[in-house]
């Protein structure tokens, strides 16, 4: 059994801003190039993988986000059972993708921490440490970018308008969270 205990347990609220780490969320990295790979994943996940850069697609249970031309991250929309660390979807993907030699799938559930940030001032907060220009991004629901905040690699997914999922490596998550809390208390 993996240890999902996180030090980011409390929900922090500021004026027009609230953030909370959500766990456990099932996460996979899938890689592949072939057309059979795309159709196989599409059938298994019951949705089409986004092929346009910096976009995502989702259904009721899962979201797939574009990371590079041959790499996607798939994560569950809701928390999963914390006592289990093998997932039905993973087994299905292993059978259709890995065993057929079409691509690769890696479980990164415990490698990434998902921080959900809501509120009107999200992009005022992110712009304090991120070089990316969010002016167009903030109005396009479902967009995804990978960038840096305070030199930490992050993935930002615009879940809804004024509601983002921030994915960060677990070893950086505590530092990033304290940076974000400190920054949020000053805007």
């Amino acid at each position: 059994m993996l240890n999902y205990n996180s030090s980011l347990i409390k929900e922090n609220s500021y004026s027009e801003l609230s953030m909370k780490a959500i766990n456990p969320i099932m996460k996979f990295i899938i890689r592949g190039r072939k057309r059979e790979f795309l159709s196989g994943v599409g059938k298994t996940l019951n949705m089409i993988l986004p092929t346009e850069p910096c976009t995502s697609s989702s259904n009721n249970d899962t979201t797939a986000i574009w990371l590079s031309p041959d790499e996607w991250m798939v994560f569950s929309n809701n928390v999963v059972n914390k006592d289990i660390n093998s997932y039905e979807l993973e087994n299905l993907l292993v059978n259709t993708i890995s065993k057929a030699n079409l691509g690769a799938i890696t479980d990164v559930t415990d490698q990434y921490v998902l921080i959900n940030i809501k509120g009107k001032k999200i992009f005022d907060l992110l712009s304090l440490g991120c070089p990316f220009n969010f002016n167009d991004f903030r109005n396009k629901k479902g967009s995804v970018i990978q960038s840096l905040i305070a030199k930490i690699d992050i993935i930002v997914h615009l879940k809804e308008i004024d509601n983002i999922n921030l994915l960060v490596r677990r070893s950086y998550s505590e530092h990033l969270y304290s940076f974000l809390c400190d920054a949020a208390s000053r805007i």
């Binding site: 850069p53 590079s68 970018i145 990978q146």
Partner: protein, 91 residues
């Protein structure tokens, strides 16, 4: 600091990228037949010119893909960006 138009992700800031040195250097087909000087020429000698230079860049904090950039080293102006394996556009 300058912006680089990643051929996969779009316009991003330079701090997301890593420079990978001069582009279009071909590895000799028969390294064993080269003299030490010729091998050193291939391995170490770079032009490092002031002016228009062909370079490789990696979007290391984004899509992690390599691509080529034509940059004027005197003023950091980027003339063109093209993918690996493509021929450099005329400038």
């Amino acid at each position: 600091m300058f912006l680089i138009n990643c051929p996969f992700c779009g316009e991003r800031e330079q701090s997301e990228f890593k420079a990978g040195g001069e582009a279009h250097i071909l590895r000799p087909k028969q390294p064993t037949e080269l003299s030490d000087d010729e091998w050193a020429e291939y391995l170490f000698m770079r032009k490092n010119i002031k002016g228009i230079q062909f370079e490789r860049w990696n979007h290391s904090h984004g899509c992690r893909k390599w691509f080529n950039v034509i940059r004027d080293t005197s003023n950091d102006q980027i003339k063109a960006v093209y993918k690996m394996g493509q021929k450099p556009p005329a400038i």
